[in-house]
């Protein structure tokens, strides 16, 4: 796609690596080459060895992390085992997942200057590099801002700028967007697009979001259990849905849509679309003859709202709630009623007020003005402890609360102050452990558990208090597809067992698939409230709140003129609409017989 001549920039030859205390090899006989300039995505489930691979590329492995390394890695012709990391970083820059630990400066400018300063560039040159790298990541004008006051997305872009200032020829990004909100992600990808346009840079990105990869990557490398199991064009991977499933990668929704149509026999497997534009074109070709019947279809029946809405009192009732942090108005008059047993997704940009709102439900924050009622009880005058029996709050990072030496103790911690008899408490702990399926590891040390298990442990420790209302903060952030599905399975079970679920999330697919009701927040106010299909069809509102609906809803909008109902939120709905239109079109309408026959 660019007119520069391809040069071999990375060469990995029979690379195997085992961490000093690792039980098995984290990388097994990895071989690949990368020619510049390219955008290569590295995908695969958690624990596959993607981060380990990224760290071998600039010599962190085996120079900082020792262990057994076999094989040969060269970047820009330099053997990573023979040159120091500090020398290699001018050739290959590595941006890691957590921006917090990659920022060294107190101001933005000082931080970008850290790298170039370390390699001894002169001040004039450093200033040029600061200007240049901040411009690429779109942080121009932030030079004198304090790094501690940046948002998560801005921090991540600053981390990228800090690496770009070293002027590397290869940029390795390890899950640069997995912890960010949609706007943050979008900004990171704009920065990456800028980079590709302006510099002849080779980019390797570890990324879970197949939709972002599909739009940009020239190539995909799939890593699983420490080995490269697949390599090729994004199209060949994502449009082959069974293959992505085999690798534990969630395919883009439009690919799933296409694949289902293929399974129904409407299209060839080679016609499965990769992007929204392709999917729209495909649908147009398919539906053009059937346009009449499609228009005549009734709109998708809205998902029924929780039937229990009538039973008073409401689980949560918020009246004219305002909250100020100093001079900053975080909530500006929120009114909300959540009935018992509802499953509500709370969405919106970071800083929109979602977390501030839910922290009022268990008194972590007190209203500046307004009132919050839980099960009909005014929270004023209640303690966090007493509310913890009504409202359970599951935080995003389980490691922020785990401190006991066994799983069982951890779950029982909250009960110590509850005045329960020891025997009764033990029974309750056992029941909760069984519910989250951790009974087998009850006596293990929590930190020997995997991330998914630790997260279930965090849920369990909240469930021990037997709250009926559960606030769950970003349950799937930073997880791969399988991890996210497991977690959501647990949330679904909790909902089915009668809990009221209030979930904060940035993943619109999860919202569409699981939530009954969506509440959108923007700048301290609720700007929309309804079923997923009602909310995701309000394009203008979503754009203003910086939210992007799921791919399949975007496709539905593209096809609105064909009569596609705008409330479509899942792949199955879209497939159903199209196939119904096609069956009607193919069997009934004589006028269209001729053209339809041509499709097969």
């Amino acid at each position: 796609m660019r007119d520069t001549k391809a040069i071999r920039v990375i060469e990995v030859d029979s690379l195997s690596y085992k961490y000093p205390k690792g039980p098995t090899y984290s990388l097994k006989d990895v071989n690949f080459q990368v020619d510049s300039p390219r955008f290569v995505a590295i995908m695969g489930p958690t624990g596959a060895g993607k981060t380990t691979l990224a760290m071998t590329l600039n010599g962190l492995i085996p120079q900082l992390f020792e262990g057994d390394l076999e094989g040969y890695i060269s970047v820009m012709g330099m053997d990573t085992q023979r040159f120091r990391v500090q020398t290699l970083v001018s050739k290959v820059g590595l941006v890691m997942q957590d921006p917090e630990t990659q920022i060294f400066g107190i101001t933005v400018k000082e931080d970008v200057a850290f790298g170039p300063g370390n390699i001894g560039l002169d001040a004039k040159k450093i200033r040029e590099r600061i200007d240049d790298s901040l411009r690429i990541v779109r942080l121009t004008g932030y030079e004198d801002r304090f790094t501690s006051e940046l948002s998560g997305g801005e921090k991540q872009r600053l981390a990228i700028a800090g690496i770009l200032a070293m002027d590397p020829e290869i940029l390795v990004l390890d899950e640069p967007t997995s912890e960010l909100d949609p706007l943050g992600r979008e900004e990171i990808y704009k920065a990456i697009d800028n980079l590709q346009r302006e510099r002849n840079l080779t980019i390797l990105a570890v990324e879970h979001s197949s939709e972002d990869v599909a739009e940009r990557a020239d190539e995909v490398i799939v890593v699983n259990s420490g080995a490269v199991v697949w390599r090729g064009y994004p199209r060949d991977l994502f449009c082959n849905v069974p293959l992505t499933r085999e690798f534990g990668i969630r395919p883009p929704q439009v690919c799933e849509f296409g694949w289902k149509l293929h399974e129904l026999g409407y299209i060839k497997s080679s016609d499965v679309p990769l992007t929204i534009a392709e999917a729209a074109e495909l649908a147009r070709t398919l539906l053009a003859p059937a346009a009449g019947p499609l228009k005549a279809q009734p709109p998708v029946a809205p998902t029924p709202v929780a039937p229990t809405r009538s039973s008073p009192p409401a689980a949560v009732l918020v009246k004219d709630l305002e909250h100020d942090y100093g001079n900053v108005k975080a909530l500006r008059g929120v009114n909300l009623e959540i009935a018992k047993g509802e499953f509500v997704a709370l969405i919106g940009q970071n800083g929109a007020g979602k977390t501030t709102l839910v922290k009022h439900f268990n008194n972590l924050l007190k209203p500046t003005r307004g009132t919050v009622y839980i099960d009909g009880i005014d929270t004023t005058g209640q303690t966090i402890g007493s509310l913890s029996r009504r409202v359970g709050y599951v935080f995003q990072n389980p490691d922020h609360q785990i401190f006991c030496s066994t799983v069982r103790e951890e779950v029982g911690y909250g009960l110590r102050h509850s005045g329960l008899l020891e025997e009764e408490a033990a029974q309750r702990v056992q029941a909760v452990l069984e519910f989250v399926n951790l009974q087998g590891v009850a006596d293990r040390h929590p930190f020997t558990l995997g991330k998914g298990e630790r997260q279930r442990l965090a849920v369990a420790s909240v469930l021990a208090m037997r709250p009926n209302i559960l606030v769950i903060d970003e349950p799937t952030t930073g997880q791969d597809w399988i991890g996210a599905e497991h977690m959501m399975g647990l949330v679904k079970n909790l909902h089915e067992s009668g809990h009221t679920i209030i979930m904060i999330t940035h993943d619109m697919r999860i919202v569409a698939e699981y939530a009954e009701r969506v509440v959108v927040m923007h700048r301290g106010r609720i700007v929309a409230d309804g079923t997923p299909s009602e909310v995701f069809s309000q394009r203008d509102m979503l754009r203003e709140a910086y939210l992007t609906p799921p791919q399949i809803s975007q496709l539905a909008t593209e096809l609105e003129d064909l009569g596609m109902p705008s409330g479509i939120t899942t792949v199955d709905e879209a497939v159903a609409v199209v196939s119904r239109a096609l069956t009607v079109g193919l069997s009934g309408d004589i006028r269209d017989q001729r053209t339809c026959g041509g499709i097969d």
Partner: protein
């Protein structure tokens, strides 16, 4: 206090860190030369003028001093009692103001009160002048000074990184605290021992998280070429301008005059 650097373009901001430190040392020296509060009032006034020139947020300065007011009152009272008239040389200072106990006991001398006042002025002047120094000088300038003094890079790196991580750790501890309280932890109740025990659930996750962070930090340092060369560059080189030399000279001359005056007996009590 280093965190509180207030960017600005005042003449005080523009001064080199070395000139500011010399002037600061001279000022403190002068402060300790005179025992009579009138002289120290003049010194404090000059500091206030400098603060005005630097356009410092007075409200914040007052915020730092306000909690100390009870201490100030205590100092006045204690010096009033503990410095008997005999310790002063001038006749007016030797005057006994009053006796607080019948039978000429526990005397309070004029000198004692005046000296208490001087101590007070010294504290205020020191707080104010050191605040001017830190509020008008970016951390980077201090670090460069360390570099000129041949202090190893590692030390200034530790200082900056330490300061940089203060807000991060604050945010993390708030998160951990929220998480524990949400599942029924009682952090703010009970006696001393119970309270200390209650902090275990906060400290353990914090320490575990810090260890994880330090490992990432080590990676990130290498990723940014830390230790590539001994001759690292900083963005701004501190440079002495004419005004800096003028300020240093003025500070030294004024302090010298003050020393001579003090020796001649001015400002004694």
């Amino acid at each position: 206090m280093f965190l509180e650097y207030v960017p600005g373009k005042s003449p005080v901001h523009k001064l080199d860190v070395r000139a500011k430190i010399v002037a600061f040392i001279c000022l403190i020296t002068a402060l300790f030369l005179f025992k009579h509060p009138v002289y120290n009032v003049f010194i404090l006034l000059s500091v206030v003028i400098i603060a005005l020139v630097a356009r410092l947020p007075f409200r914040r300065l007052w915020g730092m001093l306000a909690p100390l007011v009870p201490v100030f009152v205590m100092i006045m009272i204690i010096t009033g009692y503990t410095y008997p008239a005999s310790t002063f040389s001038s006749p007016e200072a030797r005057q006994v103001l009053f006796y607080s106990w019948p039978g000429k006991r526990l005397p309070v001398s004029t000198g004692g009160i005046l000296y208490g006042f001087t101590l007070l002025l010294r504290i205020i002047t020191m707080v104010a002048s050191s605040s001017i120094l830190t509020l008008t000088t970016p951390l980077g300038d201090f670090l460069q000074l360390l570099r000129i003094l041949r202090v190893p890079y590692e030390i200034s790196f530790v200082i900056t990184t330490g300061i940089r991580f203060v807000p991060t750790m604050e945010a993390k501890s708030a998160m951990v605290l929220d998480a524990q309280r949400s599942r029924g932890a009682m952090i703010d109740t009970g006696g001393m021992v119970q309270r200390i025990k209650a902090y275990v659930p906060i400290m353990v996750p914090m320490i575990v998280d810090s260890i994880r962070m330090s490992e990432n930090l080590a990676c990130a340092m290498l990723n940014r070429g830390y230790g590539a060369t001994r001759d690292w560059t900083t963005l701004q080189k501190i440079e002495m301008a004419r005004r800096d030399y003028v300020v240093i000279a003025a500070a030294i001359v004024i302090t010298a005059i003050a020393v001579v005056m003090a020796q001649r007996g001015y400002g004694a009590l």
